[in-house]
């Protein structure tokens, strides 16, 4: 259990949020030209790092907005929270 500082509503308990997985995965510009393996790589393959990870979160039981979180998966410490479309405040 940890507290997430929603960029719109402020500090709330983790139970109000849902995780949206890894952030900053760019959709390929020409999906039709990709091989099945490359498409599967984009669609399914995600990193599962022990350490600092860039994630998407949704405040599903609050303002229902998406945002990004920089979280250390080993101790759930949140290093930064920023809105969708903004650049990460720490180097990715």
């Amino acid at each position: 259990m940890f507290i997430i500082n929603c960029p719109y509503c402020g500090e709330r308990d983790q139970t109000e949020f849902s995780s949206g997985g890894e952030a900053h995965i760019v959709r390929p510009k020409q999906p039709t030209e990709l091989s099945d393996d490359e498409w599967a790589e984009f669609l399914f393959m995600r990193k599962n790092i022990k350490g600092i990870q860039f994630e998407r979160w949704n405040h599903s039981h609050g303002c229902r907005k998406w945002f990004n979180v920089v979280r250390d998966t080993s101790n759930d410490k949140i290093h930064a929270v920023y809105k969708m479309g903004e650049k990460p405040p720490v180097n990715k």
Partner: protein, 186 residues
């Protein structure tokens, strides 16, 4: 408009704690990210939708709750018979939806409003909510969207120890039973 009957239609008191469903109350959901939207709503209702998070604005007749940076909930402070509800909805719809300024949805039958009064309401809510009520309690007009017994609720602080709770109609009976069950042990 369909006229659903709500599942609660009850009022109970436990010591100085009073719980009651208030209906019929007009509720309208507004969504917009247009710049002129605020002034349009201001002209129509003489209330400006709040921009600051977790706050509300209102006058004698209506309150507007902040739900999200581009979403608000209007509700009537007085009981509004179903026949009169269409007037405001139509007015807003013609001025906002028709002119592409945003969307207007009548959610009267979607939300059930329960009024909670008494000094122990925050003890009751804290029994099963992850929300920290410290600031909410102090500031009249505060709004919080959170979970209560795993159910989504919108809370509006209308006065000291007096709040309105909005719960989705399909969850209202379950939450009402839980609230009553918990209130017995306060």
């Amino acid at each position: 408009m369909l006229n659903f009957e709500t599942t609660v239609q009850d009022s109970k008191s436990y010591g100085d704690l009073t719980l009651s469903e208030v209906e019929p109350i007009l509720k309208i959901n507004l969504r917009s990210n247009k710049r002129e939207f605020s002034t349009k709503i201001g002209k129509l209702l003489s209330i400006i939708p709040p921009i600051e998070a977790n706050t509300s604005s209102g006058n004698e007749d209506y309150s507007i709750l902040w739900l999200s940076p581009d979403e608000w909930l209007i509700y009537s402070n007085k009981k509004t018979p179903y026949e009169q509800q269409n007037l405001l909805e139509e007015n807003l719809f013609n001025n906002i939806s028709y002119t592409n300024q945003g969307s207007v949805t009548n959610v009267t039958d979607h939300w059930v409003m329960i009024n909670l009064k008494g000094s122990k309401i925050y003890d009751l809510l804290s029994k099963s909510s992850p929300y920290d009520f410290k600031n909410f309690k102090m500031k009249k007009g505060s709004v919080a969207q959170t979970l209560l017994n795993h159910t989504d609720v919108i809370l509006h602080n209308i006065d000291d120890n007096n709040i309105n709770l909005f719960v989705r109609r399909s969850f209202s009976e379950d939450l009402w039973l839980w609230i009553n069950d918990s209130a017995r042990f306060l």
